[in-house]
Amino acid sequence: MTKAKTPKARVATVWLDGCSGCHMSLLDIDERLILLADKIDLVYSPLVDAKDFPENVDVAIVEGAVSNTEDLHKIKLIRKNSRVLVSLGDCAVTGNIPSMRTVFPLQSLLDRVYDENATINKKVPTKVVPKLLEQVHPLHEIVPVDVYVPGCPPSADTIFLAISELLEGRVPQLNEVTRFGA
């Protein structure tokens, strides 16, 4: 450990029910990743190897909506272990595409997919996969959220701005740069 160096922020990124496009956009910040690497420890992410969500996280950046019991469990744990929770992208912020299934009753949806449209193994899977919730929820319907970054996906610049501001200890003001569907 070098002395007098500011400790790096412990940052986690999470992928719930979404297309991972927001993570792609995060990677699109390109060479600025190197800048960030100096300032953050990526303690949990689809991009790193950690299996369990760690404790004592400074910033958790969550992509995707809450659609099943696993998402539900995760988001509560994330909230508990994180100081700042960032809702990244329209799925996390509004439910977006995943939420389009909410207009149909869950059972009719499962029947459609695993019975009517299935050619083999006509059976709704109950093992290994987590159970779907009746409704798809944006994160803030389940846990308090600190920062909203709408967009589908939010641009790399938006994401970089959001993270940079947070690292500076400021609440990012993103209205000028992003919106629903941006």
């Binding site: 809450v66 019991t69 539900l72 159970k131 919730l133 009746e134 409704q135 929820h137 389940i142």
Partner: protein, 554 residues
């Protein structure tokens, strides 16, 4: 017809009736009719015939006597003898009691000196339960159309308006706008085509004051409208009545026909130059059509949705003409005000709320029905004296006045006077006169949810706060009642009540939060019990205990 003809009819009708020693009155308004009072009347008539009493005993169908829950009601000997829950089989015993002064079976006798009857002051309902609503002669014999003739022969239009202004009468539809001021505005609105509209689209759940007036004394409303027409310079009136009131509509039609054939409506009324015609328009059951601009849109043949005011109908209403629009009860107050003077009327009631008010007393109270009381009476007197208190020894919890637009008033305010301003000061409104009493078996969250459900379904959908706001508020109330709500939901509910109240386009949305606001204000403990403990103190809702599990349907 002129004034002498009118007086002749009155004298003749009174003479006819005075030939009988006994007049037996049977209520034939909708409440009692639905309990087969028509059969009671037929049985009484045939019993009279059988006993050969036709010359001394008259059976007469009359309007509402007020104690609707105890119907069918029969009265005799100038209301000294009253009978309740009468069946055709009781006809004989009732005749025995009235004609031969024998004691009637206890289960049908009502004490006519009950506070319910003696505690009232009848102006609007003075003829209800007294005259035959289907005979114009009966109305004329009760000084009917005298006020109209007085106006058109002796007063200038402005003189009529002055009397109404002097009376201090305020609109009985709910908002309490000074009637005289409204009439003045229409009077002053030029000399072109103007209209008079009677709002008979009574829609509050549990309220039936206007229906009763129309069924019991329809000519009074016609007379009030004709006087208004003369005063403001209109020659055409519309009664907008909801189609769910078939009997009221039928009696109105009969009354209009009779009035026309007697020259009391139509051209050259009372052999003067005053013309006034009245048409009925039926509403299709939309609550919002009780709002004046929506009602006008509906009469014009459009979709019944409100529009922003100004311009007010008094300036630009039906087909863009100046339009006077008042409620049934307001018009019903006009003939007595003219007959006895605005001065007289202004001696009744309180400083800012003059006259009497008709209430439909319902819910957890011993005597339910229709009452007319002077303004300024306390809620306690209405509920515990006239209403006879709470049945089955239960405890009073709240009284809801003003229907879906009103609030729930708790016990600590039972001694406030019933007037427009006092009720408003505790978060409720006078409203059109619905009054629902609740005891400890009512859950206030459930009550709030009920009224919000009503407003949500009845919102016309035009403005966003009312259309979506009521739905969101209803859903929150539902979550609270089911025990699935969080503290956040409660905060959001509070915010929405304020926003919907301030931002909605018409009275429906602006008042829709009132039941919720007042229950939040006075019964927060009940909300908390549902949210924090998963418990409904009244045992009405069945909140879930485990919020975790219920929260996302996992």
């Amino acid at each position: 017809m002129n004034q002498d003809d009118l007086a002749n009819i009155a004298v003749q009708t009174k003479q006819e009736e005075s030939r009988y020693d006994h007049v037996i009155k049977v209520c034939v308004a909708a409440g009692c009719l639905s309990a087969n009072s028509d059969q009671v009347k037929t049985q009484l008539e045939s019993e009279v015939k059988q006993r050969g009493l036709e010359s001394c005993c008259k059976v007469k169908g009359v309007g509402c006597m007020g104690l609707c829950a105890a119907g069918p009601l029969v009265a005799g000997e100038g209301n000294e003898k009253m009978f309740q829950n009468v069946t055709p089989a009781d006809a004989s015993a009732i005749l025995d009691s009235i004609v031969d002064n024998k004691p009637a079976p206890e289960n049908v006798v009502i004490d006519s000196h009950l506070d319910f009857f003696t505690g009232q002051k009848k102006i609007v309902l003075e003829n209800s339960g007294e005259i035959d609503p289907e005979r114009v002669e009966d109305y004329i014999a009760a000084d009917g159309y005298e006020a109209l003739f007085h106006c058109i022969t002796k007063l200038k239009p402005l003189g009529v308006v002055e009397q109404v202004t002097k009376s201090g009468l305020r609109g009985r539809g709910g908002a309490g706008f000074p009637t005289g001021l409204k009439w003045t505005t229409v009077y002053k609105a030029g000399t072109g085509q103007k209209y008079v509209i009677c709002n008979a689209d009574e829609g509050d759940p549990g309220a039936f004051m206007d229906r009763s007036v129309l069924e019991s004394d329809p000519h009074r409303v016609l007379e009030g409208m004709a006087i208004a027409g003369y005063a403001v310079g209109a020659n055409k009136g519309f009664i907008y009545c909801r189609a769910e009131y078939p009997l009221a509509v039928k009696r109105l039609r009969t009354a209009i026909r009779q009035a026309e054939s007697h020259g009391l409506l139509g051209n050259n009324i009372g052999e003067t130059h005053f013309d006034f015609k009245i048409e009925i328009r039926l509403g299709a059951g939309a609550f919002v059509c009780g709002e004046e601009t929506a009602l006008i849109a509906s009469i014009e043949g459009g979709r019944g949705t409100p529009r922003p005011r100004p311009p007010f109908p008094a300036q630009s209403g039906l087909w863009d003409c100046p339009t006077l629009i008042n409620n049934v009860e307001t018009f019903a107050n006009i003939p007595p005000i003219i007959r006895r003077g605005g001065e007289w009327y202004s001696t009744i009631g309180t400083e800012k709320s003059k006259g009497t008010k008709v209430f439909a007393l319902a819910g957890r109270v011993v005597n339910t029905g229709l009452i007319e009381v002077p303004m300024g009476i306390t809620l306690r007197e209405i509920i515990f004296k006239l209403g006879g208190g709470i049945p089955e020894g239960r405890r009073f919890k709240a009284v809801q006045s003003g229907g879906p637009s009103g609030g729930c008033v708790p016990e600590q305010y039972l001694d406030i006077p019933v007037d427009y301003d006092s009720l408003a000061s505790v978060g409720s409104i006078m409203g059109s006169g619905g009054m629902i009493v609740m005891d400890e078996t009512s859950c206030m969250v459930d009550v709030a949810k009920f009224f919000m459900d009503f407003c949500m379904s009845e919102s016309c959908g035009k403005c966003v706060p009312c259309r979506v706001g009521t739905t969101q508020m209803h859903n929150i109330l539902e979550r609270i009642s089911e025990g699935r709500a969080t503290q956040n939901d409660l905060e959001q509910l509070k915010e929405l009540t304020g926003m919907v109240k301030a931002a909605s386009l018409c009275g429906l949305g602006q008042t829709a939060p009132n039941p919720t606001l007042t229950t939040l204000r006075y019964f927060m403990d009940e909300y908390k019990a549902h949210i924090e403990e998963g418990r409904c103190p009244a045992g009405i809702c069945h909140p879930v205990k485990d919020k975790e599990e219920a929260e996302v349907g996992a």
